[in-house]
Symmetry: C2
Subunit: 267 residues, 2 copies
């Protein structure tokens, strides 16, 4: 069982990660329109905050924090279905306007269900135009965060990422990978340090990649290519992503969940 | 069991409905770019044809015909799972450019699985700007087709439609309704006549509604509203629609299935 102090510690760390990442993205597009959505959970306790940016450079980005509790864990396929739960997490997605700049996604979360506590999360990069330098730099940053936790973590979690973000109906991976992990049960402090290291690594490396790609010139054909390619992202999120479909089907906050969808798409 | 002649009859009628509807939509946008995709089923017999229009007036429309057979009916939740099957159908979706003109959708299909044969289908209208005249005319046409089959059909199938096309996570219906029906088992000739009457009613009334709305003026704000509103359509199709997610997850033809997605969307 988590203590009240542990819960507060996680919330505070996650809220800090939210603010930090939001500021880092805002630095890349200081004129972006900023909106804050706060929401309360229906029929339970807790809620969340979405910080949304929409601008000329950062076409759409969201950094979400949520912390909710309930009497009955709703995941039907889980052995823990129906038990009391507590869940908190921070997630972010960023859709730059420039077709040379990759979509970035990061999420870390902690769940307590019944007498079990576990952490999950990950970070991945989805470029329309693929640059090896960006991929290598992104993976190197995540590898460092993983190595600080376990010598096998990076190998395991990159594999898990490629499996999870596979778009079955198009027989292709979603992007150039990253890491994905779930159900990690270990010492609380060790795991909290690990997931924060992942989020912080993302907070450093992703804006660094954007800073390099955002000045590159592009034309309306490049943008059009980006719009069609973003359709794959929507297909993955709405058809396969656990968090999205689970959240939508169980009455989560629609605006916060769908902040992940790209601003403009073509099919 | 269907006879070979019955199968040929259905195929011929459905292929005729496809051609007729395609021509009727083309009449509304004679300069639209026309494409034909044909595909063969992997690991089975049969295939299909998609007739796709993309133009200034009809921004995107598809009319699909398919006829496939296999050794094992793939729907896991069906009592008929694993039995030999034969399935044929025609479906259409149309996304006009003008925000005053509604999205139209129609599908009729026949399945034989093991020793059972059933028909299903429907037609529904999804306007961004709602006009009562359009809704009434659309429903009146479908009512006539239903009345020719059974005096209770229209009442039952409009209710089924409202239930099926309910977008749970947004707590709203998708459009202004229409009819939806499935698993109809009855005399073959009676059912074939009914589903063809539905498709033909749609083929008359939907272009008639478009012809009235397509000349109305609109500006870029109207288009922008349309783009955001089309997002609901994508959410429904990718999260809830049986045919779409079933087809994608079981290796159907991706291009044919996703021809239903709107040409331009914003979130």
């Amino acid at each position: 069982m988590l203590t009240a102090i542990q819960k507060q510690t996680v919330r505070t760390r996650f809220a800090g990660l939210q603010t930090d990442l939001h500021q880092r993205l805002l630095q890349l597009d200081k004129d972006a329109q900023q909106k804050t959505h706060t929401w309360d959970k229906d029929g339970g306790s807790g809620g969340g905050t979405s910080l949304v940016l929409r601008g000329e450079v950062i076409e759409k980005a969201g950094v979400n924090f949520s912390c909710v509790a309930g009497d009955a864990y709703p995941r039907l396929e889980s052995e823990h279905h129906g038990k009391p739960y507590y869940a908190t997490g921070v997630s972010s997605i960023c859709h730059p306007a420039n077709p040379h700049a990759p979509i970035g996604h990061m999420n870390v979360r902690m769940l307590e269900v019944g007498d079990k506590v576990w952490f999950g999360g990950g970070a991945d990069l989805t470029p329309y135009r693929i640059y090896e330098q960006d991929r290598d730099e992104f993976h190197q940053a995540l590898r460092q965060a993983c190595d600080s936790y376990s010598p096998t973590a990076y190998a395991e979690y990159t594999k898990w990422c490629d499996e999870y973000f596979f778009i079955k109906h198009r027989n292709t991976v979603r992007g150039v990978g990253g890491i994905f992990f779930d159900y990690l049960q270990n010492d609380f402090d060790t795991l909290l340090a690990f997931v924060c290291a992942v989020a912080e690594a993302y907070g450093r490396v992703y804006p660094q990649i954007l800073a390099r790609r955002l000045p590159l010139p592009y034309d309306s054909d490049d943008r059009d290519g980006l719009f069609y390619w973003r359709g794959r992202y929507v297909e993955f999120n709405l058809i396969y992503d656990r968090g999205t479909s689970f959240g939508l089907k169980t009455g989560g906050n629609v605006e916060a969940i769908l902040v992940s969808l790209p601003p403009q798409v073509k099919w």
